[in-house]
Symmetry: C3
Subunit: 480 residues, 3 copies
């Protein structure tokens, strides 16, 4: 029975295309027309150290594929495999000896749970990375796990397997990191001074000095901002001056964009007196949750104002309740696969910002969502009207085949593709970048193929749209 | 490469059908069975003047296709083309000289941005209108823009190119306009008296005398209502009497339906004392936003009561934040492509109205949504139970291929097709009506074809359902 | 025309599979591999009396197919056929003579409205039940309605047409009922004592003693709980003791699960003092709506605590506004097709419960939704992280082809199939169980076939996943 099924599996070159033969032929032709374009990576989380250190090498297969990947360990955790057994490092002060340190064991545990990734994007990425980077074509099984481990380890140690070489091999044209407002960008400086010609740029992400003014950590972040900017921050006005100075520094270091997270897209303009009062309460540790909510709302408008002046493209990623699992957060810290989306409103929440800056000629604001019901209802109508708005690609849980298909189906009719910005790989895992872009390009071409075989677009448009989605839109949208 | 793609584009007769060959064959057969049915147009915004003036002619291609079409100019605006450059007229008091008056220039600007409409319903409608009305088969390009302009201009000026002749050519069976409660329906009278046998009926839309009791314009609307009804409106009771008189007049003029917009479907019944107190505050300009919200909620129930008595089919279109862009509203007025949907609740909000009238034998209430997540969750369960309810077709941003496909997928399993009402073209653009109905009929037949090839329905049901969706349901639902 | 369409209708064996030939071939192979598995029925509403009485016979076709099926009578009601004419029994105190008692007439009314079910799951279930149970292959028409009635009646009366025989014929492996906390489980006792080896187990559903503490009926339910548990319930502590005693009794009777309904998934932990104060207000009839909301929220956490201790799998079905139509509720009682969903939030509402028990090693909590927008946004991210969580299959209005397809598309990429629980038939209609399971298995296999032909999964995974979705997951998830 299994062998009869095998006849229906597509050739590798046709993977992820629709099963219908006409659409598949079109998708293949379109994909071939964009497959060799360089990669534009305008929004990601790769550690710049990888490029600052010209001889950087990845340690083990577990370090390379598993330990830093919350997509992986969250799934095993959900089925009862403790994070400790997966080698996830604990917060300082916790009992680090509880964490598995034998990377071969961690790998084996993973492979024994590999079936959990059936039909998931993580499963597809891993399969393609094993194939494309390591030439591994057999399926992972508990029986071959250790031999595979050896084979990957050997290749990781090879002299050419450095991030800089991979950057060239992957044909990355430009890659941006994400960096705190208080970051000194030392690694970026090292990269510049090294004479290497890879284009690695920072992105200005001020969340820690903007959000959570009611939290105990906030004051420490302001102290860092003071130290790094050399500006004494005693009031709201000097705080703004310090932020503007940091933005200038980021721009000098090549940044073309900022990035902002918030639980909701709520925006509001506070009077100078009100905002300074909240700021002062923040400094003395007496700000309330409502202060924090309003301060973030005000600062989103303020950041739009700065972007309208300095030209940094603004990005807003709302809608995730971060670190939803308190026990995991306390033991392991942030970004442990426990960020959970909730329902959003953009229409009412963004009105204040849009009333001020919606038609500004030099501002660009890219919106992302984790609530797919907002895509057709709010984002596409907003971006199909306001000149400053563009819609970011499917994010986090939606960086998947269905996520992308839904995105095309829900956004494009109302916004058109030119109000979108192509693809963001949004990843910490540098080596997964080509795989992620390829998936996007395949699904985009398959979508276009569907439009063509239904007579919605013609051949000329299909080719132009494929080009834009694979390459042109990202480059233009991020001013790269 | 492009030529190989061209082989996969369908014949024009098969456009918008699924790429799968079996489904396409079925869709074609079903479509052929309904393609020649007359058009029932029970909900639209065509100016009745077009039919009152037997020799009405459209001026230029820009006037015909672009200037009045907010689907068109919103898209160019979103990409930085000012509304002024697109010839959109400004409000009184603004500097009208800023508006481009050269229609050839406006047309050229549009054609240079024609790629923005790739994959959008506007792009499909325009292509089909150019083909069907003007015999234009080449794609619009900046190079052929002026020649095309000439060609269209010539045809617009032809003696037979009048709305009345087009009405007959399009095989419209009946068309309704949308008219303020205070409208004198002069054009409708002229049409009647002209002896022309086209069926053009008004629809009673009392939004301006119902919504916004807290707004400065409201009192003026009540004065208009007084003037047109001849009833002195000093309290809530006389206001209701005036509204009832207007409904009687609309019915005499052929109306079979009313239409109501509201930000939400909230319904509430106020005591006579409460509602009169709010009404009095409205008259003296001291009503609050909460008064306005509650007054609208109360009036929705009151309108249901009137419809249960006089038989006018009630329509409710909630969920749009009108004129979201304050700057555009101030400069250009309403309906400038800046109406943005937001999340809705029908289940809790409509309960008061449904408790009073949900099973009334003569009331019919048609609900529309701009929040697709309500379709399967709320509208289909409600309409699949309450006798008075029917679900209106996909509206505004959802009058598109995906909007229709989602509608069929989300509504029909729970509500069945007989709790829906066929198609509404909902357009100001008279000449786009056949194109819009054809798109609906094609997508409906393609959906039915999918059900048939999956064995969900048989041939007999498919044909009956195609007939109902293309023609029968609209006629019956609107009591035409 | 109709005959040309007939050529495109699939063979019965291929019904509900995708129209594309490759996917259909794969779906067929996968379906054949699971078609003969026994049925696991872990969540349903069949009356245990059917199995307690070894010689139980269904009365008439109307009783068998129509009168108890709110999917059926709600649809006719929505098109103006009164519930009385459909034989739906009224509440005590109402005028029972208004209810049609002639089952032949009820059947005829139904058949005359049979077209309302075109394209609905009810239409598919009925067609398949008529075929599979009664060998009826002609379509129901008003002309053949009475002959069909006769034929079904005859078969219903046959000696072998008892629930016990059908249980065996259907290859049911285990079936659970749903029972109030105060139920004495007499029928379950009878079944046990009869020596029949069918596995019929109760499920503990305490809604009536947990929800609605502000309602006049609540105190009577507590009295019942006192009587059945033999525990004098004078305060919150004794109430908890009584509930725990009932759970123990249910477990002795074979229960492996509990079931909980709530309007929202709101959870909260009240202090012992607060909760007892609310409980005391409930006893004296002075609890408020807010008391009721908080008491339910607190009790959900309490039930999670009990499940973590006694191992009963906890199920939560939030999001339905029960008995939305007040007039129908008053005249006919609960469960009359007027339960209407509304928008839900799980992310914020469940946080309190998850902070306490989200990673508990022996707790399992299965979540269901009626708000599909929560599936990808909240349920899949939550279940793809928290060890205790699993996602229940599409429920109530979503127990349909589109509901299932959406479920697979929205849940599996983020949660993986192993965080789901296979199928629940959730039905009162015992004889519809095989049909419902077959629909699920067909749609699941068609989904897997789509993944295979797109190269997302291989043959080996497809077979394993089909097995899990059809059989293994339900058995494991419910600890059966």
């Amino acid at each position: 029975m299994s062998s009869s099924l095998r006849n229906y599996m597509p050739e590798r070159a046709d993977r992820f295309f629709s099963g219908s033969s006409a659409q598949k032929s079109v998708a293949r032709t379109l994909f071939e027309s964009v497959a060799d374009f360089p990669l534009i990576c305008p929004h990601g989380h790769v550690d710049p150290l990888l490029f600052a250190d010209a001889s950087y090498h990845f340690s083990s297969p577990a370090e390379f594929f598993l330990i830093p990947d919350h997509y992986v360990f969250r799934m095993l955790y959900s089925q009862g495999v403790p994070l400790e057994a997966q080698g996830v490092p604990m917060n300082d002060g916790e009992d680090a000896s509880a964490v598995e340190s034998d990377h071969r064991k961690i790998w084996q545990t993973f492979v024994e749970n590999y079936h959990l990734f059936q039909g998931t994007p993580t499963g597809l990425w891993l399969r393609d990375e094993l194939h494309d980077l390591f030439g591994i074509t057999e399926k992972l099984t508990p029986a071959n796990a250790q031999a595979t481990y050896d084979r990957i380890s050997e290749q990781l140690a090879a002299p050419d397997f450095t991030p800089r070489k991979l950057y060239e091999q992957f044909q990355v044209e430009v890659l941006t990191t994400t960096d705190a407002a208080t970051d000194t960008l030392e690694h970026h400086k090292t990269i510049r001074e090294s004479g290497w010609d890879g284009r690695i740029y920072p992105t200005f992400r001020p969340d820690k000095v903007v959000n959570g003014i009611d939290q105990p950590e906030w004051k420490g972040q302001i102290d860092l901002l003071r130290d790094v900017s050399g500006i004494d921050i005693g009031d709201y006005v000097s705080y703004i001056t310090a932020l503007e100075a940091r933005r200038d520094f980021f721009r000098e270091m090549g940044a073309t964009a900022t990035d902002h997270a918030a639980e909701t897209p709520f925006t509001e303009v506070l009077s100078p007196k009100e905002v300074d009062a909240i700021f002062q309460r923040g400094l003395v540790g007496s700000a309330s949750a409502d202060d924090a909510r309003r301060f973030t709302a005000h600062m989103l408008v303020e950041m739009a104002r700065m972007s309208s002046e300095d030209g940094l493209v603004m990005q807003l990623h709302p809608g995730s309740i971060r670190n939803h699992n308190s026990a995991v957060f306390q033991r392991f810290g942030a970004d442990k696969g426990a960020d959970i989306p909730h329902a959003l409103d953009f229409t009412l929440n963004l009105k204040t910002l849009l009333d001020r800056f919606g038609s500004h000629p030099s501002l660009r604001l890219i919106l992302f969502t984790l609530d797919e019901s907002t895509s057709a209802r709010e984002l596409a109508p907003l971006a199909g009207h306001y000149p400053i708005l563009r819609i970011g690609p499917p994010w986090w849980f939606y960086d998947s085949i269905n996520g992308m298909r839904n995105f095309f189906a829900q956004v494009m009719e109302t916004a058109g593709i030119y109000n979108t910005v192509g693809f963001n790989d949004d990843t910490r895992a540098f080596a997964s970048i080509p795989t992620r872009h390829e998936l996007w390009r395949r699904i985009a071409c398959d979508w276009l193929a569907g439009l063509l075989v239904e007579g919605q677009i013609d051949d000329e448009d299909a080719l132009a749209m494929a080009h834009a989605l694979a390459y042109g839109l990202a480059k233009e949208a991020y001013r790269l």
